[in-house]
Symmetry: C2
DNA sequence: TATTTATATTGCAATATTACGATATTAAAT
DNA sequence: ATTTAATATCGTAATATTGCAATATAAATA
């Protein structure tokens, strides 16, 4: 054991879990926040922003990219990273959906 | 190594990461969706809804509770679980914040 | 009080994640 | 052509997560 039983769940559930999991590390939250703060795509500089080694940061960037939360394009000898909106909209939609449901049936129990 | 360097990040970053991580598994997404679907708190029955053993489900419920995404109160010999709104609002706020920022500076690059 | 029912905990094996040093790659600059 | 700079990959150790059988706990019911 140890492996998640992805095939027992719906595609949507697995997709949301992948997105959430990608944000389940403070370094990756920090990367998203940094990309947001600097107003634009950032070519280089991400490594210097984080208290982690270059290979570790590279790995975290790869995970965010695989999950569809950021995208990176080659820009000379550095890479230009920025937030990938569709990915973020998808997970944001999940929370909005929950929030709307909760608003409708407030305090019915508990 | 292998342990996350939580002390290198802000409290807010760690908090958001814990919330996201708790949702980083399809079974836990399924639990949240189920609690939402049934309109109210559910006493029992969660185990039967998931394609996992009772101990495994119990463990996932514990993680959601620790992260502050659900709450459970004892109700006779079963336990009544429901969504914990403050936890969900916190992570929802993060995505709204991102979305607002992105709306302001659309297509500046990439 | 014994049994049933619902949930939690323990212990453990399989797998995944985190982190980093060493090394590779690739494009710019000299 | 070499060197420099930025990023990726490999290898590996430490730790965390996933899943379940077995067992414990605690309340309801017979």
């Amino acid at each position: 054991m140890g492996a998640t039983k992805t095939d027992h769940f719906t595609e949507s559930q697995n997709e949301l879990a992948i997105l959430a999991k990608a944000l389940g590390h403070p370094a990756r939250i920090a990367i998203i926040e940094y990309l947001l703060k600097v107003d634009a795509c950032i070519c280089g500089d991400i490594v210097n922003e984080l208290p982690l080694s270059q290979p570790t940061v590279s790995q975290h960037l790869k995970e965010l990219k695989n999950a569809g939360l950021i995208k990176g394009s080659i820009e000379g000898n550095s890479i230009c990273y920025c937030i990938n909106e569709p990915g973020l909209e998808k997970i944001k939609g999940f929370f909005e959906h929950i929030s709307n449901h909760l608003a409708k049936k407030r305090n019915e129990c508990c």
